[in-house]
């Protein structure tokens, strides 16, 4: 038993001394598990079929699908399709890769919030095996890219708060924009970031001037990336998409007449 414990301790020490190699191994392990799962269970979910129909329609008609989901996921799948893959394989590979990289994101978040390499690698190892992440990663779902972008935003925001660097908060804002263009649920991160800035200023962790500066860098990067996304992915298409989505919402509450949604 003592020998086993000694081997474990040596392994742990090596992992902590070589985090890059350990993380690479964890990422590859995660990718392998997800890939095997995809080969064993290639079924797509109900939502995936909806996305795939929309992507195929977009491919055939050249018009961005106007549905209730934000357009980033469709754009990402279309981008992967330029590698010569079909919509289903492009969607799955996008999720397999981004799902495997979630281990790096959790390592970063844990490293910033606990400052312990052991805890961070432990959390990354758990992420590699997590059943829900595996289930979401081996098919066409927008949750995994959302988790990737939102996780990166949280990681950079925590790093920005700890190190008091405006550019880290700007990067967090950029990832928040990408995440918001994938799932609207990201709005909570914006709320959390501004609440944290206010509380930190109130408890004198930052000065009010610093807090406002960080908030501005976050906001500027957020809007810059969102506008850049609009331009890169076709301004008119994306605008039509959002007009359709928000038009429907405004119609639902009676603020917009039925013919002004810009939708189908």
């Amino acid at each position: 038993m003592k020998k086993i414990i000694s081997v474990m301790q040596k392994t742990t020490r090596w992992c902590c001394e070589n985090p890059a190699w350990t993380l690479l191994f964890i990422v590859l392990l995660s990718l392998g598990i997800k890939f095997i799962l995809w080969r064993v269970d290639p079924m797509i979910s109900r939502d995936a079929s909806f996305y795939l129909h929309n992507i195929r329609d977009w491919q055939e008609s050249g018009i961005m699908p106007q549905s209730f989901i934000p357009p980033m996921f469709y754009c990402l799948v279309r981008a992967v399709m330029t590698l010569g893959l079909g919509p289903e394989h492009a969607g799955v590979w996008l999720n397999l890769v981004s799902g495997s990289l979630l281990t790096v994101i959790i390592y970063g978040i844990a490293m910033e919030s606990t400052c312990s390499r052991k805890i961070s690698l432990f959390a990354a190892a758990l992420m590699a095996f997590h059943s829900s992440i595996n289930a979401l990663s081996h098919e066409v779902q927008r949750d995994v890219p959302y988790l990737f972008f939102a996780g990166a935003a949280v990681w950079l925001a925590i790093a920005g708060f700890r190190r008091k660097k405006w550019y880290l908060l700007a990067a967090a804002g950029a990832f928040t924009a990408l995440s918001l263009a994938t799932r609207y649920e990201t709005l909570e991160i914006i709320l959390i970031v501004f609440c944290t800035l206010t509380v930190f200023a109130a408890v004198r962790c930052f000065s009010w001037k610093q807090s406002i500066g960080y908030g501005l860098s976050f906001t500027c990067a957020f809007f810059s990336v969102l506008i850049l996304f609009f331009i890169v992915s076709g301004y008119n298409d994306v605008c039509a998409h959002y007009r359709y989505y928000f038009g429907e919402k405004l119609q639902a509450v009676g603020l917009l007449p039925a013919d002004e949604t810009g939708g189908k």
């Binding site: 064993v40 079924m43 129909h53 978040i109 052991k118 432990f122 959390a123 829900s132 979401l136 949750d143």
Partner: protein, 259 residues
């Protein structure tokens, strides 16, 4: 709301992870309550806010996957529990004056036990796949292999989009029937469709579920006269290993079309 908090969120983050997270949350409170760690409190506050936000949002948005973001903090909490709890237990054993052989060994093994246990649990859950769950792919393969001509396609199920994708058809190209209630006996709506298709040329396919105990729609059970054409149950697949439901691919060729 309670169902979402106590069932949906734990099932997404994995129940043992949820339990360990709660244990660590209580332990962390005792560890950090006297320390002025603003970042820790902001992190904890953020997690509580996210859990609360999701629970409230559940009133308008019925998505279990929305809880997926909580996987990040819960796994970090699990890692903290595994690596920090030995210190807590050592302190507890000392306080209780509880000494037993191999105490230190057991404490050293806590991280390994947690990692091995959770990994085994994750892998079991990940690879616990019902061998019958790919019935849609099998049914679609059957259709693609045996179809002749371009007849109409009727899909009697809520998840018709998946079948459309697998049979390489657009949603607008198929007719969806009985999409709201899959417990309705198949005989009622299938016989209605077959009678409607009597004078429509082509080879038509109907995809539908047959619940255990329901009457199978055959020429006899649907009381089709010989001049109606040929109705054939082409393929049938169980949907789960419990074999309580079948997914059926049926082919109908009206007599008018044969001539």
């Amino acid at each position: 709301m309670f169902i979402y908090f106590f069932r949906t969120i734990p099932s997404m983050i994995f129940e043992p992870v949820g339990i360990i997270t709660l244990i660590w949350a209580v332990m962390a409170f005792f560890f950090f309550r006297k320390k002025n760690k603003t970042l820790f409190w902001m992190f904890a506050g953020g997690v509580i806010f996210m859990a609360g936000w999701r629970t409230l949002c559940h009133q308008v948005m019925l998505s279990a996957r929305y809880a997926a973001f909580l996987i990040y903090p819960t796994l970090i909490f699990c890692a903290c529990f595994s690596l920090k709890s030995p210190f807590f237990f050592r302190w507890l054993f000392k306080k209780l004056k509880w000494d037993f052989p191999h105490r230190n060994l057991l404490l050293k093994l806590i991280p390994v036990i947690v990692l091995a246990g959770l990994t085994a649990g994750f892998l079991c859950k990940t690879f616990r796949i019902d061998p019958y769950s790919n019935y849609r792919i099998k049914a679609a393969d059957y259709y693609l292999k045996h179809r002749q001509g371009e007849g109409r396609i009727y899909i009697a199920m809520f998840e018709y989009k998946r079948i459309c994708w697998y049979i390489n058809r657009k949603i607008s190209e198929v007719k969806v029937i009985n999409a709201d209630d899959e417990t309705v006996p198949a005989l009622s709506y299938v016989s209605k469709i077959v009678k409607e298709l009597k004078n429509v040329p082509g080879e038509h396919y109907v995809f539908f579920f047959l619940n255990k105990g329901d009457v199978l729609p055959t020429s006899d059970s649907m009381k089709l006269s010989p001049d109606h054409g040929s109705w054939q149950i082409a393929a049938r697949y169980y949907t789960t290993k419990h074999k309580k439901r079948e997914f059926i691919v049926a082919r109908y060729k009206p007599a008018a079309a044969k001539k």
